[in-house]
């Protein structure tokens, strides 16, 4: 099969089927079977169809047409070049002294043009490389599992009368409302459609459209229990925080477009057959050996910004002296564009400082949490950083790395004290997303994307397990659980698999482990590789290791508190039961993926390597920060880094598990006593580093004060102006009424009427009713006519 034609068609089908399901459910959802149960089946059918199309695209089209590069591990040999460690990975690169990779195999084109405004082209297009195909498979498979699981989990919504126990009305009763089963699946379908749209998008504008669609879907789903106050505020919070990130993204888009002049990612042929270069080619031209080189438009734009002096502000805090050899032209604008785009990803992927929305998003039903936290919403941000990777300058990457580093540490520490089972998982998601961002920022593109995919599977699994537990005990609070592994073994052991996967369990220095073992170790290796060439950024080297320790601790704390030990609430324990097969089935499937997706025999790593963005293989040096070096990713595989990093990752994870076991399994230390002895720290973490309070005082309160002032101004100034002008208008119209309306207009009409009346009265007199008089009238009239015509003929019409 020709991938050039079949891939776009297959993926478009996979993309549009959920949209069709959404439209059908919107129109006919109510009528699909009793209480809309058919809508659920339709939605499941749609997403499974998508999954089948995606898998056909992967195994039927992509893999047969694209051979994996020869395994680079064995050929790996490092050589020095220009004082930096440069990898020589395969033959073509070793011949080339610059050893930089060209464009990966990709297919791009436009399906539909929305409009052209000057040079601005808005199109619905596609850009398909191995990352796109991998993401399609990952999203559709996980979404299928979540959809099927939701059929069971949302069963309560099928009742005619759904009783929401968390909403108490003013009358003291719980809220009774109609079940909204079909609406849930309608949003799920739209959500999947939007996510596929981001992944397949061929230009930045289209990404932004679907980016916003994902945002609105998350709003609908987080606020699904809209009657609960906490749910509606959480939905608002998610949406507003995302808007803040999107603002930065818009700035980044404008910076890119105004200086580069195109939105498209890849090179595309237009109608005349000329090749129009896309963003990647323009920013990493072939002439500069695929190194990042700001195009002429960007340099001119920056000159304009800095008022004629391109080096004017380049010599500030970051770089003390202006080095004539360095080329900072356009680099600042490139930095702004990169950080701007990254802002959008910060919002969507819940990175510090916009991470606050994600834990609150737990108010949505658990299948939504699973979908949002694994495959769709938060994955979108990481995916976009990966997609935009060639456009980020080394300085922008450093920003990304630091944001990821801060996020992974903060979120991990908060997760230690949380007792809400879903919140622990939420903070763990934030932390893992921090890992991905860190990895991308340090140059570990494949590692970051690999972790995105493996994490999606085990985090989806963990959330679905937590949903299964919540379904059984009807509470989110882990302090009411305990000992549940006897009641619900499938959930307990699949969740154990998820926990082991997320901490990266595996045999160190071997190729045997769970999926997280491969991706997490790759990230830590990359961090160590980065730290070895940039000693001033050593914190980026140690943070992921510390994070690994904390991750292991809180994940096993969660598992022990939920499934091990003695039941802390016998009443709930007695009522607990294993979930139905429709819910445990997806758990088992996802557990299998969580174990095996990272295994080298499945080549996910090599598949992603095929999609490595252009020009990102070799080490790059900062232009603004001269002592910054982003190392080549392949350098992280040298034994000098791989062995200590692997051992460090293993030991910290093991230490975390041991500490959790000491406290929560063997009870050698009493957690309550620990809580007392570390009270200030505990309080600090329990209150989530006071981020919500901080934002409340920094942003919400000032906004409220300003809006109160504005409201006062509105009510007192604007309203009084309005009222006064209304009163003036009313008085004026009264004057006009008296002067003009009542005399002139009314007078005219009245005169006309009385004239008609008088005429009628006068004409009435002619109607005598006497027959003979009428005859006389006729005769006289006839004679008068005759005489008139005669006179006219005789005197006024000239005889010819």
């Amino acid at each position: 099969m020709d991938p050039d034609t079949t891939l776009p068609v297959l993926l478009m089908a996979a993309w549009l089927v959920p949209l069709a399901s959404f439209v059908l459910i919107v129109l006919f959802g109510k009528y699909m079977g009793p209480r809309g149960i058919g809508a659920g089946y339709l939605s499941v059918l749609a997403i499974v169809t998508s999954a089948i199309f995606s898998l056909i695209a992967m195994f039927g089209v992509w893999l047969p047409n694209h051979d994996f590069p020869a395994a680079h591990e064995s050929e790996h040999s490092s050589s020095t070049h220009d004082g930096a460690v440069v990898s020589a990975t395969d033959e073509s690169h070793s011949k080339d002294s610059h050893s930089n990779n060209p464009h990966p195999d990709y297919y791009t084109g436009d399906w539909y043009s929305l409009g052209e405004f000057g040079t601005l082209k808005l199109t619905i297009g596609y850009y398909i490389d191995s990352l796109t195909v991998a993401m399609f498979c990952m999203v559709s498979v996980i979404a299928s599992c979540v959809h099927i699981y939701a059929l069971g989990y949302m069963h309560d919504e099928l009742h005619e009368q759904f009783v929401d126990h968390e909403v108490t009305l003013s009358s003291g009763e719980h809220l009774h409302r109609k079940g909204r089963f079909y609406r849930f699946f309608q949003y799920l379908s739209l959500f999947c459609f939007s996510m596929f749209g981001i992944v397949i998008a061929g230009n930045v504008a289209m990404v932004f459209v679907f980016w916003e669609l994902v945002g609105i879907c998350s709003y609908f789903l987080i606020g699904f229990y809209i009657e609960r106050h906490s749910a509606s505020t959480a939905a608002n919070k998610a949406f507003i925080v995302n808007r803040i990130g999107d603002f930065g993204m818009l700035i980044g888009m404008m910076a890119l477009w105004s200086s580069v002049g195109t939105f498209a990612f890849g090179d595309m042929k237009n109608e005349k057959g000329e090749v129009e270069q896309g963003l990647f080619s323009l920013l990493r031209p072939e002439e500069s050996e695929y190194q990042l080189a700001p195009p002429a438009g960007m340099i001119a734009e920056q000159k304009r910004m800095f008022a004629g002096d391109p080096n004017a502000s380049a010599g500030d805090a970051a770089t003390p002296a202006i080095d004539p050899k360095r080329n900072t032209q356009g680099q600042w604008l490139l930095f702004i564009a990169g950080v701007g785009i990254f802002c959008g990803c910060v919002g969507k992927s819940a990175q510090f400082p916009l991470h606050v929305w994600l834990p609150d998003a737990m108010e949505g039903p658990t299948p939504v949490s699973a979908l949002v936290h694994s495959a769709t919403m938060v994955a979108a941000g990481v995916y976009l950083v990966g997609r935009f990777y060639p456009c980020f300058s080394p300085e922008a990457l450093l920003v990304i790395a630091y944001v990821g580093c801060i996020t992974l540490f903060i979120a991990a520490t908060i997760a230690i004290t949380a007792t809400d089972i879903k919140r622990v998982l939420a903070y763990s998601t934030v932390s893992q997303l921090g890992y991905m961002m860190l990895s991308l920022g340090l140059g570990g593109w494949v590692a970051g994307m690999f972790h995105l995919i493996t994490h999606a599977f085990f985090k989806g699994l963990l959330f679905l397990c937590s949903g299964s537990v919540i379904h059984a005990v009807h509470t989110n609070d882990m302090t009411f659980m305990g000992g549940l592994r006897k009641k619900m073994p499938i959930t307990a052991y699949t969740m154990l698999v998820g926990c082991l996967a997320i901490i990266g369990a595996g045999f160190p220095l071997s190729v045997y482990g769970l999926s997280g073992y491969y991706s997490k170790d790759a990230i830590i290796e990359q961090a160590w590789s980065f730290g070895s060439v940039n000693p001033q950024h050593a914190i980026l080297k140690w943070a992921p290791v510390a994070g690994a320790f904390i991750t292991a601790f809180y994940m096993f704390r969660l598992w022990y508190m939920t499934f091990a030990g003695q039941p802390s609430d016998p009443h709930r324990y007695d009522h607990a039961h294993e979930s139905p097969r429709v819910m445990t089935g997806p758990l088992i499937v996802l557990a299998a993926f969580a174990i095996g997706i990272g295994w080298p025999i499945f080549h996910v790593n090599d598949l992603l390597e095929q999609g490595r963005p252009v020009g990102t293989l070799s080490a790059t040096h900062g232009e603004l920060l001269t002592n910054l070096t982003i190392p080549s990713e392949h350098d992280s595989h040298v034994p000098l880094i791989k062995i200590p990093a692997g051992i460090a990752a293993f030991c910290t994870a093991l230490a975390g598990v041991l500490l959790a076991s000491i406290i929560y399994l063997w009870r050698l230390l009493n957690p309550d006593e620990l809580k007392e002895s570390f009270k200030p720290l505990y309080g600090f973490l329990w209150n989530k580093w006071y981020f919500d309070e901080l934002y409340n005082y920094l942003f919400v309160k000032p906004t409220l004060i300003v809006s109160h002032c504005a409201a006062w101004f509105d009510r007192n100034i604007i309203d009084s102006i309005l009222h006064t002008s209304a009163a003036i208008c009313k008085a004026c119209s009264k004057v006009v009424d008296a002067l003009f309306d009542q005399t002139v207009v009314d007078g005219t009409v009245n005169t006309l009427a009385s004239g008609t009346w008088g005429l009628g009265l006068w004409l009435r007199k002619i109607q005598t009713g006497s027959l003979r008089q009428y005859v006389m009238f006729i005769v006289i009239g006839t004679v008068a006519l005759f005489v008139t015509i005669s006179i006219v003929q005789a005197y006024f019409i000239p005889t010819s």
Binding site: I766, Q767, S770, V775, M776
Partner: protein, 119 residues
């Protein structure tokens, strides 16, 4: 000398003008009759006179003896006259019925008393 249009009728051979003159006299008699008679039957007679005066004109203008063109059949005048006769008969029937009803209601056929439709 003032040339009165009808001055030399008597000295000329019989032509259209003679017939028209007789028709006009009949018409005026009928009209006067309609205007002066108070008896409804008298008014009806006046109508008959007016119609006959008009009829005479049709016949006179339609006669091929009195016309110069020999090309047409010259039946149009006669046809119109026949129509008028039929019309007169129908009108007389209706009018007599009205008169009869009027008499039944008012014990009179004085047209001056039939003025209920005055304005």
């Amino acid at each position: 000398m003032f040339n009165f249009p009808l001055a030399n009728l008597l000295s000329e051979p019989v032509g259209v003008a003679h017939y028209v003159t007789v028709g006009a006299i009949l018409f005026i008699c009928g009209a006067l009759c309609m205007a002066t008679k108070r008896n409804a039957l008298g008014v009806l007679m006046g109508i008959e006179l007016v119609l006959n005066g008009a009829n005479l004109n049709f016949v006179a203008f339609g006669s091929q003896y009195l016309r110069n063109d020999g090309h047409s059949l010259g039946l149009d005048g006669q046809l119109m006259a026949l129509f008028v006769i039929v019309l007169a008969a129908a009108e007389a029937a209706v009018a007599l019925a009205i008169a009869l009803n009027f008499y039944n209601n008012h014990d009179s056929i004085d047209v001056d008393r039939a003025d209920q439709l005055r304005g």
